[in-house]
């Protein structure tokens, strides 16, 4: 009996599971990430042709460019979501806080806890709202109910969804509206407290009001996280991002402060694209 209690205590200390760490309010998780000379192939097709980029913590960076320019492929390199794609091959280095995430010692599951992702179409699990947000914690083996409850509440509050769902957390997530589902997906990502959040066209399946809510949310979240957003919407890029990267045919054409890109871009191609003359 005494031993059991001892083990329990040890676990508690081991995982830092004190309620305080579950709900600390003003922590900053944001990390910097940089890519160096990235080349990507799918079979024989070269999708990324040598891209280097440095992304600062606590910023929102927008990836823009026409369809098929490689911006989504590039985004998915940061949490290694391309690993399972057949025929995927990569050269170059991506460093998260100076550590190569494609290094041999890196566990990809560990990486993805640090680099969360929100997808184009809201993709909640066919489970309750609570289970959706708690999932990321449960698969890590966390069982402490108080800890999970606190984290779920915190994540839902951060995602600006708490007030809408707090009374029916056991309702199926599929019963929520598209915009709510997407905020739920954001909450699910926040619950594991990543340092970087990747968003792959997070509003392209949503109506303007839901889109506005997500954009506000992104703006708030950058205080604690580093955010990279792929978007097709130029206005969105100019509204929410601090930095903008313009991709074309697998190359990074221009990367600069958003204001600079949208007012006086250096390259002719960038100007043509953001003014809608091609793409």
């Amino acid at each position: 009996m005494a031993k059991e209690i001892e083990i329990k205590m040890e676990n508690t200390i081991d995982k830092n599971i004190t309620l305080n760490t579950a709900i600390i309010e003003d922590e900053n998780h944001a990390a910097r990430i940089e890519a160096k000379d990235i080349k990507v192939w799918y079979e024989d097709f070269m999708a990324i042709k040598g891209i280097s980029i440095k992304i600062k913590p606590n910023t929102v960076t927008a990836f823009i460019g026409p369809s098929g320019c490689g911006k989504s492929t590039f985004l998915r390199l940061f949490n290694r979501m391309n690993d399972y794609v057949d025929g995927f091959k990569m050269e170059g280095k991506i460093k998260l806080e100076g550590k190569n995430i494609y290094g041999k010692k890196i566990l990809v599951e560990e990486l993805r806890k640090n680099v969360g992702m929100v997808f184009q179409k809201p993709n909640p699990f066919p489970k309750s709202i609570f289970e959706n947000v708690a999932y990321g914690l449960k698969i890590q083996g966390i069982k402490d109910k108080k800890f999970i409850n606190a984290r779920v509440e915190k994540a839902l509050k951060q995602a600006d969804l708490w007030d809408e769902v707090k009374d029916n957390l056991n309702k199926s997530a599929l019963a929520l509206s598209g915009g709510q589902q997407q905020r739920l997906c954001i909450a699910r990502t926040l619950a594991v407290e990543p340092s970087i959040i990747l968003m792959d066209e997070p509003t392209s399946a949503l109506d303007p009001i839901s889109t506005a809510k997500i954009e506000d949310l992104i703006f708030e979240l950058k205080e604690k996280y580093t955010i990279i957003v792929v978007t097709h919407n130029m206005q969105q890029a100019s509204r929410i991002s601090d930095y903008t990267a313009f991709f074309y045919l697998g190359e990074l054409i221009e990367y600069n402060k958003t204001r600079t890109i949208f007012t006086k871009p250096e390259k002719k191609q960038t100007e043509n694209y953001i003014t809608g003359r091609f793409g």
Partner: protein, 284 residues
């Protein structure tokens, strides 16, 4: 006649041809089942199900064959279900899509088309002789497991493939291993499809005769099997045996046994449909 009326006419012709074809199949089935019912229904009572086989038609029952069929069914399910589902999940979720996997895929489909007697011969050599299981329930169940494995594998793959990949992505993106979404999302979502496939495969197994005859199932066993290494008979073999007897009484017995066998397969198919519908509702 302009082209629209012509097309309409073709439409009608095809419609009636279709109705005729459907009715043809249905009527044949109704005649067949009706004939068997007329022959066999008065023979079915509790004693028929619980009696041991006998030389006298009116004293014979299907107890040993029914028990043999149930043993075979359960053992086949226990063997084929985990192996088939695991293989299906592996092929769909883990294996890289390359030449080897394409070759595997084609051959699994081919295996589903191999005549069942060939499986019987394989079972006879491998399970009965080499593994020394003799003409036992276990050898029969292993043979039938091989026979229905391709069906289960294909059904599992189809069901797993139908789960949207966005669910996998969501799970991976939260730091899940490959196994976690399989266990937490994919299997629950595809369970209905998998179960349907398994039950349909099993209802095929329960009607198989040829491979079991080759493996050595007996036409006459005095007692129901009590362990997996006992000798056994199954319903289809019992039916076959009775039909080949000259006395009229055995023909009635055969008809009655056919009704029981049909009932078992209908119930199993019904369960499959029930699970499929229930699962579909759950996902909505």
């Amino acid at each position: 006649m302009n082209s629209i009326t012509k097309n309409r006419l073709k439409d009608q012709v095809f419609k009636f041809w279709g109705i005729a074809c459907t009715l043809f199949a249905l009527i044949l089935l109704v005649i067949f089942i009706g004939d068997i019912f007329i022959d066999g229904i008065q023979r079915i009572d509790w004693a028929f199900i619980t009696d041991l086989p006998s030389r006298k038609a009116e004293k014979s029952g299907i107890y040993t064959a029914l028990m043999g069929s149930i043993w075979i069914l359960l053992l086949t399910a226990i063997i084929a279900f985990p192996v088939g589902v695991a293989a299906g999940v592996y092929l769909e979720e883990y294996s890289k899509k390359n030449r080897l996997s394409a070759l595997l895929e084609i051959n699994i489909s081919n295996l589903a088309g191999v005549p069942s007697i060939i499986y019987g011969l394989l079972g006879l050599e491998v399970f009965v002789r080499v593994m020394g299981l003799g003409a036992s329930v276990l050898a029969g169940a292993l043979t039938l497991s091989l026979l229905i494995l391709p069906i289960i594998i294909v059904a599992t793959r189809e069901a797993v493939k139908a789960v949207p990949s966005s669910i996998r992505d969501a799970s991976y993106a939260l730091g899940a291993s490959k196994w976690q979404p399989i266990w937490n999302q994919i299997l629950p979502a595809s369970g209905g499809g998998i179960l349907t496939g398994v039950i349909l495969a099993l209802s095929r197994a329960v009607g198989e005769t040829a491979p079991l005859i080759v493996v050595g199932a007996l036409a006459y066993v005095p007692f129901a099997p009590t362990n997996p290494l006992d000798e056994f008979s199954v319903l289809p073999i019992q039916i076959f045996n009775w039909i080949s007897r000259p006395q009229h009484g055995f023909i009635e017995n055969a008809a009655a046994a056919i009704i029981i066998l049909l009932l078992i397969t209908f119930v199993m198919n019904g369960i499959a449909v029930y699970f499929r519908n229930k699962w579909q509702k759950k996902l909505k």
